[in-house]
Symmetry: C2
Subunit: 423 residues, 2 copies
């Protein structure tokens, strides 16, 4: 299987990313023997049933293949004291590219999904403004909008990384609270300018119309920067599970602050100290004090294939691929290691590299049947480098549950089984 023309660029089989394109990867696929084919005989292959008669025609609203219906978000909440609460996780190891289809975008609800009639819904802007304002959904549709591709990540994503023992899980179960979409909406600054912000206002308190009245405080300087009132996701109206008819969208920051079913924005001098910024979504340090308002999500990456609970069924060349993102900019570099971080090689970033969006990386790797530990390490446009788990815990301690963005390690054993490890 080894091809002497392939340039090794780091330990334990990592190959130069230029080998992704062009010659040298014949061994990557299990390419069938040409013995099946006589000269130019392909059309004599058996004609499958589906080619022998016309199929159904077009439809108003499409659906996916019956062969892909097992591609599902992982849902979980069986707590009767928490009706409608819980999260669902995107099947990251089954997706490709960077855009998450709306039906598979992760969810996190605190009291379920309200069934909002957009004709009855109101958005109020009040507090320290010159002119309190009320907007209907139809009003907002008349405003200028912008369209941006942004990731969204729950700050509890990957939280088990702080634990004492590595959980036996998949990319989905461990890290599936991150997704990415094209979000279209009205810049919050447009509406705040219209209301007229009083000089003493420093925070914008956002409240949702769900039964939990989810509330979060946004610093005014962020609110005036890139925050959206998102009305569309991947071209269509934002769905109920994502905040229909409108959600606050705070690019790059922990998902909880992008308040769904947005119904009030109140300008205040101080943060509102909502339940979800005191009892939750704070980072508890080893001295038992908690950091509050640690908003931006860290520079992070994740190998989605091979990943936890997969298995390698042959020696040879594999495409290592994954996603990378940063709450502080775009992804400039992703490195991959196959020897647990002793040596690193640059992966190819083969998608767009937009600000605060997922990027997709890829690098070829030759598995020779021995033990290996695959890791990826992202660097963003601000020079932030994804830390190891140990570095992160040295800095933040391990009582915390939020904002885990340490390097993920996937161990491959000699049987080809892939598992989550702390390394």
């Amino acid at each position: 299987m080894t091809d002497s023309k392939l340039e090794k660029v780091a330990g334990n089989g990592l190959l130069n990313r230029r080998h992704l394109l062009g010659l040298g990867l014949a061994g990557a696929g299990s390419i069938a023997s040409s013995a099946l084919l006589g000269a130019d005989s392909a059309l004599k292959l058996e004609i499958p049933a589906w080619s022998q008669q016309p199929g159904p025609g077009t439809s108003g609203y499409g659906s996916r293949s019956r062969f892909t219906e097992d591609m599902q978000r992982a849902t979980g909440n069986s707590n009767p004291l928490y009706p409608g609460g819980g999260a669902s996780r995107s099947p990251l190891q089954l997706l490709q590219g960077t855009i998450t289809p709306n039906s598979l975008h992760f969810e996190r609800h605190h009291s379920g999904i309200p069934d909002i009639d957009p004709a009855q819904h109101k958005l109020v802007i009040n507090g320290l403004v010159k002119q309190p304002l009320v907007f209907s959904y139809e009003d907002l549709l008349k405003y200028p909008m912008v369209s941006k591709i942004y990731f969204l990540e729950c700050s509890g994503n990957s939280g088990s990384g702080y634990g004492a023992n590595a959980v036996n899980g998949t990319a989905q179960s461990l890290h599936g609270l991150v997704s990415c979409a094209e979000w279209t909406g009205v810049l919050l600054s447009t509406l705040l300018d219209e209301a007229g912000v009083e000089p003493e206002a420093q925070w914008v308190s956002a409240v949702g119309a769900d039964a939990a009245s989810m509330g979060r405080s946004v610093p005014l300087n962020k609110a005036m920067d890139d925050v959206l009132i998102a009305l569309f996701q991947n071209g269509e109206p934002v769905r109920p599970a994502q905040g229909y008819p409108m959600r606050l969208f705070v690019p790059g920051w922990e998902g909880n602050i992008s308040v769904k079913w947005l119904t009030q924005l109140k300008l205040t001098r101080e943060a509102s100290q909502f339940r979800d910024e005191t009892s939750k979504y704070t980072d508890t340090l080893p001295n038992r004090k908690s950091l509050q308002f640690t908003f931006p999500m860290g520079t992070k990456s994740l190998i989605t294939s091979p990943s936890g609970q997969m298995s390698l069924n042959r020696q040879g060349i594999y495409q290592v691929t994954g996603i990378a993102w940063s709450g502080s900019g775009s992804i400039r570099r992703v490195e991959v290691s196959a020897d647990g971080g002793r040596s690193w090689a640059d992966a190819m970033i083969e998608s767009h590299q937009s600000d605060k969006a997922l990027a997709r990386f890829r690098i070829p790797w030759e598995w020779s049947g021995g033990d290996a530990i695959l890791q990826s390490r992202a660097t963003d446009s601000q020079g932030n480098v994804q830390p190891t788990r140990n570095t992160l815990i040295d800095e933040r301690g391990s009582i915390n549950f939020y904002h885990f963005h340490g390097i993920q390690s996937w161990a491959i054993n000699t049987a080809g089984e892939v598992s989550n490890v702390f390394a």
Copy 2:
């Protein structure tokens, strides 16, 4: 409604695009009176029923709001002699941003949608190659992939523009055979390099597994450039209506050549003269000769709002928005006219500006209640400028049906009704 601070930049009410952001658009929305609100009384507004109890929790595969279910593709084929044939058109006037959700991506089938089991499907590469090859779906998943945002447009899109009379239609019914997605797949060049192309090969003949055996010939130099074997669309596997489990994707070229349900690629000296490159998809000139293999889609734009069959119900400021694209590069400029092309103003492009992808433009316009004709004109990164309908017909004649990319004119009358006109 007129605000003297607003800078007029072209005739009949077009305003400087900088007014899209920031002050000056208070008149744009029908903003409710603040009389509804006492000081800080927003929380005393009536609490809607959906805020009073928890809603349903997360789900494995999401769906949209019941209030948006009328957002459908327009389908059409009632010809019993053409089973499974026909097209469905994207509801362009209801979408925002640039990404089309997979359920609303346009379709065009010649004998319906085959129900393909990916485990049984094969892709053959043969003809003038050193080594004929057969790939399963699983084989292809092991190959390196790239992820790109590309538009796809049927070459018959907007074809009624060649007619003698302007059809009374909508953006969807007239132009809905264009959509845009993130496509992820294996570069065709990777597979052709592996098979080894013989020096005399000049074309790649692609054949689908539908009952029509849709076939198209692709010039080798394009095949070796940016053509994909697309396996994923917006992150999830390509759906049956788009070619599951695999389609050829030929960026920027007429949609028909992106052969769905791809099952054979044969390297040949000459084009194969398939049915769909002789009887269809040729451009008939006034002298009754036809141009064949006119592949790239033209530089084009379209105002989606206001657009055909909408009506303006008040005087004042509107957000004119639409989409622009080019088969030859990225969109660099979109101009808008409100006086039928006598004067033009630059619109703001407020999305990404990727190669061969939709871009979203927007400009504010003040309607004073008089007659107006709204037009948009795109310029791409190669300097190609979208022609007027008259220029296009002068060059190509009007017998042709394909590749219409002339400027679209929407007339607004004094009653505010918007209609398709030739101007």
